[in-house]
């Protein structure tokens, strides 16, 4: 009885509290964020779509509405075809490596070993350093008479044109993205590993499973949601690469490293071709949204429950 009374009393306090603040108060709290999100997310979002239906090539100031014409031009252009191929290559090159190597490293580091923090710090350093500096450092490694070509020479190869050969350049740039991402994804795996089922791992030890068996049968299945998360997150960030390309190759040689964001940048801010830039932006939007929706619906649903 007294418990019930107590409960009633609690509810009263909450009701009074909710009445106490006026109805507009919640909105007041949200307002500043809402204004900025409107100004820098929702309006630009709709404007991107609207711009992509307009023709800027004839008149920059009062463009006419031309429907899907921009998309037709874009999707049939050889350059954009190349851009999409490069973007796909980037995904194929970066995502598997960024999923697997950090996983192996995280499993290795997730032991009671000496110098643990030192390893973590050293592997994480590329993540916090500006991508511009990382790209410059790699440009120096890739120099024609640089240290990598010296190593190639020792190994019996002829000098490689890391950034000037159309066949090699994109892989050289992908390597930079991978280099900068490894520590980041390793930390994601490590924080997931904190909750790894210790009993199962110990049971596997008792049963005489070797290291590989143990991790293949216990750790990897346990980490499956995190692995999937890393795949989507690294895919989205591979779709968005820009600085590496801007600093190292500027999309060249022969457009071989031009990916979609670089293409948008070039169209919009160097060629002032707003139509093509927005049409390409909408295509990027659609691709990233597919990945994001998958990510949110499948892996992070709980996190974003209202």
């Amino acid at each position: 009885m007294s418990k019930l009374l107590q409960k009633n009393n609690d509810r009263n306090i909450i009701t009074v509290m909710y009445k106490y603040y006026k109805k507009y108060v919640p909105y007041l709290f949200i307002l500043p964020a809402a204004i900025l999100l409107f100004l820098f997310f929702f309006i630009p979002f709709f404007e991107t779509v609207v711009l992509s239906f307009k023709d800027y090539s004839t008149d920059l100031y009062s463009p006419g509405f031309i429907g899907l014409e921009n998309y037709k031009i874009l999707l049939t252009s050889k350059e954009f075809y190349k851009v999409i191929c490069n973007t796909l290559l980037y995904l194929i090159g970066a995502v598997p490596v960024l999923t697997i190597i950090p996983l192996v490293l995280a499993i290795l580091i997730n032991q009671k070993i000496r110098c643990l923090n030192l390893y973590k710090v050293l592997i994480y350093i590329p993540v916090i350093i500006s991508i511009v500096v990382v790209a410059i450092a790699f440009k120096w490694l890739y120099a024609t008479q640089g240290i990598l070509n010296y190593i190639a020479e020792i190994l019996g190869f002829s000098a490689i044109e890391w950034l000037t050969s159309p066949d090699v350049a994109i892989w050289s740039v992908i390597a930079v993205t991978i280099y900068k991402g490894i520590g980041y994804y390793m930390m994601i795996y490590l924080s997931a590993l904190i909750g790894a089922p210790k009993e199962l791992l110990e049971a596997a030890d008792v049963d005489g499973a070797n290291l590989l068996q143990k991790h293949l049968n216990v750790t990897i299945p346990y980490l499956m949601p995190t692995i999937a998360l890393v795949v989507t997150v690294s895919s989205i960030s591979a779709l968005k690469v820009f600085a590496e390309i801007y600093v190292m190759t500027r999309g060249g040689p022969l457009d071989s490293t031009k990916t979609i964001v670089y293409y948008i940048y070039e169209r919009a801010f160097e060629n002032l071709d707003l139509s093509m830039a927005s049409a390409a932006s909408v295509i990027l939007l659609i691709i990233v949204m597919i990945f994001s929706i998958l990510n949110i619906l499948v892996f992070e649903r709980k996190k974003y429950q209202p």
Partner: protein, 280 residues
């Protein structure tokens, strides 16, 4: 015995990966320390310079306004952090705690912004910034605002803060209410101190993100005196086209502050408990 070999192998692998991971930087440092008399393209490459000299550092320091770049980067990053933490913790409170009309709708709208990559909408953002006259051709102040405002709110920050507010016991709010606090006092005096650790996580990650941002500043900035570090460092390449000693020295100078920041704040990054701080 077997265990020792295993441990040994683990260390060998981790040591090699650690060295690989900082090797590009070490090589930059090595190059920056070599004087004019030493051939930086020498085969075999000389890792330890024969005569260590700091002339490249002093040389590049004289020609590049590093202090100004640092300050610009710092001003932009600091305000981005403050605005993000402030706006996110404001907006997150009612989303976590109050009942009101349209709550779910607002929540999903904020959620939707997570899916929109900045790169896809940067062109209209630039046009809006131009319309609002928030560019450095108007004034320095406007230039800073143009760098900061598009990043002043991040849906991810709102979610992070919302999670933190949800975990605070309701009784705390009620007690504060009974004691006569109004709703803003409850927010600022009672709840905000409780979520301070999450604010710190948000602040640290926002700072790193803002400090390294390259694309947006390179689009909006026209005035060199407003250059942030990444833009300024990229500029080195053009200024000293083949002088790799200077480019290397400048790059190394530019990363010193963030390395210090990282070492001081390392627990935020490598504790393994930054689960909530994963950003898409």
């Amino acid at each position: 015995m077997n265990k020792h070999i295993k441990g040994f192998l683990t260390h060998i692998i981790l040591i090699s990966i650690s060295i690989l991971s900082i090797f590009p930087l070490l090589w930059l440092i090595s190059t920056a320390l070599k004087g004019q008399s030493e051939n930086i393209f020498q085969y075999p490459p000389q890792f330890i310079p024969k005569n260590i000299t700091f002339e490249n550092f002093t040389g590049v320091w004289k020609q590049i306004p590093f202090i100004a770049y640092f300050l610009n980067s710092f001003i932009v990053a600091a305000f981005t952090v403050v605005l993000n933490v402030f706006f996110a913790s404001l907006a997150a409170y009612p989303l976590a705690r109050m009942k009101f009309k349209g709550k779910n709708f607002i929540f999903y709208m904020i959620l939707a912004t997570l899916m929109v990559p900045f790169q896809a909408i940067m062109l209209p953002i630039y046009l809006i910034i131009l319309k609002l006259h928030l560019v450095d051709t108007v004034s320095y102040f406007a230039g800073y605002l143009g760098l900061i405002l598009p990043f002043a709110v991040n849906a991810f920050g709102i979610f992070l803060m919302r999670q933190a507010f949800t975990s605070i016991p309701k009784e705390l709010e009620e007690a504060a209410f009974v004691d006569g606090c109004n709703i803003f006092q409850i927010w600022s005096k009672i709840l905000l101190p409780c979520v301070a650790p999450t604010c710190a996580v948000l602040a640290v990650f926002t700072f790193i993100g803002s400090w390294g941002e390259f694309l947006w500043p390179s689009i909006v900035l026209t005035d060199k005196s407003l250059y942030t570090l990444p833009v300024g460092i990229n500029d080195l390449q053009g200024m000293f086209s083949a002088n790799w000693r200077y480019i290397a020295a400048g790059s190394i100078i530019s990363i010193i502050p963030i390395i210090i920041f990282f070492l001081a704040m390392q627990r935020f990054f490598i504790s393994g408990h930054n689960d909530g701080a994963v950003k898409g």
